[in-house]
Symmetry: C6
Subunit: 78 residues, 6 copies
Amino acid sequence: MVNGIVLPIKKVFSLVDSKITVEIKDDQRKLQGRLVAVDEYLNIHMEDTTEYVNNVRGRTLGTVVIRGNNILSIQPQV
Amino acid sequence: MVNGIVLPIKKVFSLVDSKITVEIKDDQRKLQGRLVAVDEYLNIHMEDTTEYVNNVRGRTLGTVVIRGNNILSIQPQV
Amino acid sequence: MVNGIVLPIKKVFSLVDSKITVEIKDDQRKLQGRLVAVDEYLNIHMEDTTEYVNNVRGRTLGTVVIRGNNILSIQPQV
Amino acid sequence: MVNGIVLPIKKVFSLVDSKITVEIKDDQRKLQGRLVAVDEYLNIHMEDTTEYVNNVRGRTLGTVVIRGNNILSIQPQV
Amino acid sequence: MVNGIVLPIKKVFSLVDSKITVEIKDDQRKLQGRLVAVDEYLNIHMEDTTEYVNNVRGRTLGTVVIRGNNILSIQPQV
Amino acid sequence: MVNGIVLPIKKVFSLVDSKITVEIKDDQRKLQGRLVAVDEYLNIHMEDTTEYVNNVRGRTLGTVVIRGNNILSIQPQV
């Protein structure tokens, strides 16, 4: 059970320094970029971030810190 | 009361390694896949995930970590 | 004040094993079923659950775990 | 500062056993009833509850437990 | 860093007994009134509260306790 | 892992006294101003704040405290 408690975040920790896709809650937006840091609340620090609106490439955002509660999902970029 | 406190999450822990359906809050979307890990916040790590929009099969998502507060419900897949 | 702190959840604990109606936030939906377990976050494990959309009987859901923050209210079923 | 920390909830504790109006977040609804219990999360147990939709009297709800995060405001009923 | 952690709330503590404007999340509403008490969650107890809808003066609310998570911002009234 | 836990907030702490752009959740609004203080919940105290609605300059807000859960993202102003 101790393993069960830490695992979803462990998966995200394993993605540090790689490219991820972050889906924002209640929004047609995704952010893609390099995961620099993540904490236990799933707050995320990304670099080289690009915005996708309805899967169309949008603005280049660069450095961004996203608050965890507004993140719907995190995926490794494929 | 101690039992009462741990039980809803215990039900989800019992679903690890089996197929689940996750309903997203304020969204016409459900995600189906294999539950790999879950923590006390109901953050979820799923593999082999498929998206359903208004019950129509959508994208294949593969690996995804979903933040617990944006999950409305979790059910064993029937 | 100690009593004041524990009481709203105590009311819900008293409903374990009986039929409840759960109103979902920002949704025209209610879920009715038997309360199996509840924790301090008002996460809920229900069995024999039926969905009502705008008070019209909808799908039979069976087993469902609902995350507490997305629950607006819990009532004993009358 | 210690006083500052406890006071907003102290105001609500002082309303136990009296009539209150609870405004729901993102909803045209208010609930009026007798406050039976409240905890530190502003979870609320009300009895003799009546619903008002756009200030028009709606259903009689009786016993209801409301989750604190979905409450916008609490007022003494005037 | 210890200072950094306490400061945003310290700013709000400094506004106790003065007039503030509270902006509600996802709402065209602001509440103006005297700040009586605030806690670490930014729960707020206001007196002599007046509602503004789209910047037009609305109802007089008097005493109100607002739950912190539904507050977007707090400003000193100018 | 200890580093991983503290880092996203550390990035924001590093922006104290500089100009930032704060994106509000579910809103076409951004706030630009000088970051005075931030805490572990990403509650933010800004000064010299200006509002942008759909990227058009709006009101001058001056001093504002924003509750962290309603912040989608924080970026250094470029």
